[in-house]
């Protein structure tokens, strides 16, 4: 056995709807027109919210904001594949995931206003508060999934992170542990080609992020992240495997961050506008619209009403968010521990926060 091959691996790339809007019916999951409309409606809502958030930021009504423009396909496609009792562990750039799962819009705005109450997740919505330190939420999902397995709950956890996040040690330890325990967890990497100013090519020398799965003995797949149907299918399949006890999956959604990193960033400093323009042509809404047109389910009045509803919902949310009373400084201490310690009570008094 002088030199022989002890392992052979492949990485696959999935696209279901081509850039011309042609659906590959062999690969396509069974989706009713209503279901396809749901993707459309979720993308329009997310995009409407996102646009408004950007204006609110410019007007100084919210703080720094991280745009999701261009990533709605990956977020909506994956979120809509989840069951109600699955759990989600998001980073800070998952607005469309939150909204697709029914997260109250006004809370989302409140969060970006710099108010912790915006992450007080309503009961029944299984989203963990968004994680700002990149990659650190990945082990949480592994742990929650291990807990599901231990309890015998037929559920899965999904965790979102970026191409940058895939370079962190958290990624490694979490995927490896999840593999060992066959935890029902989906690791969803939105490879949007940039980590602030660092391009994907400088994030890792590997050709794909999906191939990392090989190193953990788990499933891995690259997906056209701008093809909402492909993402949906990949996520559905992965969830099914996870719940059947077949362990975790790493899904790499290939997509693009069309806007600046956040409103505090100026991407023109480090990337060419031609690159951005070329990706604009591939953004997920164009693709979905082409498909829906071909299917004849994108009537003008439907389009108008979806947009109008989204705008109305966002309007209401902004009003509601701005109408909320200012946060109470006492809450700085109130939520540190389950109960105030003696020292915290004293501080509360000294600071004049206790009525």
């Amino acid at each position: 056995m002088p030199i022989n091959t002890v392992g052979r691996f492949e990485v696959k790339y999935l696209q279901v709807v081509s850039e011309e809007g042609i659906l590959d019916s062999a690969l396509a999951p069974a989706l009713s027109d209503t279901e396809i409309r749901k993707f459309y409606e979720a993308i329009i809502l997310a995009r409407t919210f996102n646009g408004r958030a950007l204006s609110l930021q410019r007007e100084g009504r919210i703080g720094t904001y991280a745009s999701i423009l261009g990533q709605e396909g990956s977020q909506v496609g994956s979120a809509l594949a989840l069951a109600k009792d699955d759990w989600v562990f998001p980073s800070f750039r998952e607005t469309a995931v939150f909204l697709s799962l029914g997260y109250p819009l006004h809370l989302m705005i409140r969060y970006w206003m710099g108010d912790e109450r915006g992450m007080k997740v309503p009961e029944g919505v299984n989203i963990f508060p968004m994680s700002v330190p990149v990659g650190t939420q990945i082990p949480h999902a592994a742990g929650a999934a291990m807990a599901m397995r231990i309890r015998g709950d037929k559920r899965a956890a999904a965790v979102y992170f970026g191409d940058g996040g895939s370079s962190r040690g958290d990624f490694h330890e979490a995927l490896n542990i999840a593999g060992v325990f066959r935890a029902p967890v989906i690791f969803l990497c939105q490879n949007n080609q940039w980590a602030i100013s660092v391009p994907r090519s400088k994030q890792t020398r590997a050709g794909t992020i999906a191939q990392r799965a090989i190193g953990y003995g788990i499933e891995g797949l690259q997906v056209d992240g701008n093809d909402v149907i492909a993402v949906y299918k990949a996520m559905k399949d992965a969830l099914e495997r996870a719940k059947a006890g077949d362990g975790p999956t790493l899904i790499e959604c290939v997509t693009y961050r069309l806007d600046d990193h956040t409103t505090a960033d100026d991407a023109s400093r480090y990337r060419a506008s031609e690159e951005v323009e070329s990706w604009k042509k591939k953004e997920p809404l164009i693709r979905l619209r082409l498909l829906m047109e071909k299917k004849g389910i994108l009537a003008k009045d439907y389009e108008d009403s979806v947009l109008k509803e989204a705008e109305a919902a966002v309007d209401r949310a902004v009003q509601e968010a701005e109408a909320m009373a200012a946060p109470d400084p006492a809450d700085i201490l109130n939520y540190t521990n389950a109960a105030l310690t003696g020292r915290q009570k004293k501080e509360m008094k000294d600071l004049g926060w206790r009525k």
């Binding site: 759990w87 562990f89 912790e116 109450r117 992450m119 007080k120 997740v121 009961e123 963990f128 508060p129 994680s131 330190p133 650190t136 990945i138 082990p139 949480h140 999902a141 592994a142 742990g143 929650a144 999934a145 291990m146 807990a147 599901m148 397995r149 231990i150 309890r151 956890a157 040690g169 958290d170 490694h172 330890e173 979490a174 490896n176 542990i177 060992v180 325990f181 809450d331 700085i332 939520y335 540190t336 521990n337 389950a338 310690t341 003696g342 020292r343 915290q344």
Partner: protein, 320 residues
């Protein structure tokens, strides 16, 4: 009642609590088949099975991060970090997550978990097996920090730590593991966190210590009328107990093994300097490790405060 050491006492607490509450699970390196390198989890794998006693890959950050996720989902993980010197890679999970989940979610999620780890100089093991970095955690809002000193309080405090809704860092003085014995009954009571124990009453000097140093401070107190406070919970610590004692004695000595600068001794001294200044008759003295990292075995005894150094501190404050 049998004489029990700290290893057995913690093992008892874990066993009883796991029997009582099926959400309690254990995870860490070598905690299963091997029973932990100090045998604290011995027998638990056989009793509770691999779903509740999990041998993990060698990945402290992953272990702690997973525990945060388990806690979010409703389990009550008890994590073992094999030695305190190996917790540093997991600090982000403690500082940025475990400690903040409640505040971040405005109470929607908590993080009920315990991190157990052997702590301090004591077993002449290689480098980084002797850390006493309690102050790092004491500086972190949102966590609790506990150090037992006897089998009795080890068991009582562990029961409370597991039941406490906040993340608790439970530091086990490795030097004491088998060195101190107590009579311990099964099903013994939980001891409240946040309460110190007056280990020895006295009227001249208030001595605050915990873990291994408690015993040293007591040993050195012969010939002095020391009131020795076993702090036990380092965060939040029992301010009333210290204050009451200092007001009585007018003198304060804090003894700890950790390096002096920004150690917990600084907090206790500063606390006294703020709240009991007018009662203090003498300087507040800290007997602590010097500004150097814990040395390897050959020099560890030189590093660690010994009875002579502690006595010198008692003498010094008695000069006033």
């Amino acid at each position: 009642m049998a004489k029990t050491n700290i290893v057995q006492a913690i093992n008892q607490a874990l066993t009883e609590e796991m029997e009582r509450d099926k959400d309690v699970v254990i995870l860490g390196e070598d905690v299963g088949r091997d029973g932990g390198v100090f045998r604290v989890t011995e027998g638990l794998l056989d009793k509770f099975g691999p779903d509740r006693v999990m041998d993990t890959p060698l990945a402290e950050l992953g272990i702690l991060g997973a525990a945060v996720g388990m806690a979010a989902y409703g389990l009550k993980p008890v994590v073992e970090i094999q030695f305190m010197g190996f917790i540093y890679s997991a600090l982000e999970q403690v500082f940025s997550h475990a400690a903040r989940v409640r505040a971040r979610s405005r109470g929607r999620f908590g993080c009920q978990l315990v991190v157990r780890t052997p702590y301090g100089i004591g077993i002449k093991a290689p480098e980084l097996h002797s850390e006493s970095a309690e102050a790092l955690f004491c500086h972190m809002p949102g966590v609790k920090v506990v150090v037992p000193s006897t089998p009795l309080n080890a068991k009582g405090l562990m029961l409370s730590a597991i039941r406490d809704p906040d993340p608790v860092i439970f530091l086990e003085p490795s030097r004491l593991y088998r060195a101190v014995k107590s009579e311990l009954s099964e099903g013994g009571a939980a001891m409240p966190l946040g309460k110190a124990d007056i280990y020895q009453e006295g009227k001249d000097i208030t001595v605050v210590a915990w873990g291994t140093m408690l015993h040293r401070a007591a040993e050195a107190s012969e010939g002095f009328d020391c009131e020795i406070i076993d702090l036990m919970t380092l965060k939040p610590f029992d301010e009333e107990a210290i204050l009451a004692s200092v007001k009585k004695t007018g003198r304060l000595v804090v003894v700890h093994e950790a390096t002096r600068m920004c150690g917990l001794g600084a907090e206790i001294a500063a606390f006294a300097a703020e709240e009991a200044m007018m009662h203090l008759k003498s300087p507040v003295i800290r007997v602590a490790g010097p500004d150097a990292v814990t040395p390897m075995a050959r020099l560890e005894d030189a590093y660690m405060p010994d009875a002579a150094r502690i006595k010198r501190a008692y003498e010094t404050v008695m000069e006033y």
